[in-house]
Symmetry: C2
Subunit: 180 residues, 2 copies
């Protein structure tokens, strides 16, 4: 099977990592090569020292795209789960990877994410303790034509994961059935 | 075949890229998956903004090792060709990748590299125009037990490349013939 990159994007707390984890587990159970480039892993290994200005966020995203491109070129299913708030930078990643790029919009409102506030970050963002917080004091630009949209306010994580897996499977079938 | 990383190390002008190019071409002709992480490619895509202090060089090398590890884990033959002057940092990469790490010492004296001076860098280093230049104003720590040593003062690039390929081939045979 040829490689691809599942590019999860969405607010902090929208459920990117939760859904990505389920997708990863399922793909591993199938025996497929998978690699997760989690936001934190990447910030530790590739982007230490970068902050959260637009420029630094963009640099971080470009590095993730560079590595995801290398891996997916060699048949790996890559899963990235960084907020990646800027449309133009995601589109750059799309351009680099072409058909291997699968944008997965993990959709949940700021209100809902703030209500969940798993890591207690929104409280700090609203109080001003954390600056440049996406959705509160920093912009999030929604994808215009994502390959998959997950509405995590109405779907369970398992349902969301099934939608992602169904998309991958349909693409494989399309590729196998194409006359090329 | 399982992945590996050919970690070329040596002075600027020692012949790392020249030999790596020949090895890459041969591996591609064999139809094997190959990816080259050249020093310049990496500085552009992963390490923009880093300088040549020990700390910045180490960060650059750790990023190359992070990516080489990801790729070689998935069966890719990775070729890195950065000076990587510090032994401890190379040994870190070795620890990360274990048996997939193949250190290739591209050996040539400073005098010989300065005589070649393909990019005109040594002249600038000796005149002080370039600071922190490995082998002139910055240290180069020779590998103590490299898997392969290439003496590019006495071997042709083709001879050096053959030595590297012979090492890869012997390892594959050992692995195939091992009783494990």
């Amino acid at each position: 099977m040829s490689g691809y990159t599942l590019w999860f994007t969405g607010l902090s707390g929208a459920g990117k990592t939760t859904v990505a984890d389920i997708v990863e587990r399922e793909l591993r159970e199938r025996g497929e090569p998978v690699e997760v480039l989690d936001g934190d892993v990447v910030r530790t290994n590739l982007s230490k020292g970068l902050g959260f200005s637009k420029e630094d966020r963009d640099t971080n995203i470009r590095r993730i795209a560079f590595v995801a491109d290398l891996l997916s070129r060699h048949g790996v299913g890559v899963i990235t789960a960084a907020i990646s708030p800027y449309r133009e930078t995601r589109d750059e990643a799309r351009e680099v990877m072409g058909e291997r790029f699968i944008e997965v919009y993990v959709k949940a409102s700021v209100d809902e994410c703030a209500r969940r506030d798993v890591k207690g970050l929104y409280e700090k963002a609203f109080s001003g303790e954390i600056k440049e917080f996406t959705g509160v004091s920093d912009p999030y630009e929604e994808p215009l034509q994502p390959e998959v949209t997950l509405d995590t306010e109405s779907e369970s994580p398992e349902e969301s994961a099934r939608k992602v897996l169904a998309f991958i499977d349909s693409r494989v079938q399309t590729a196998a059935g194409s006359p090329r």
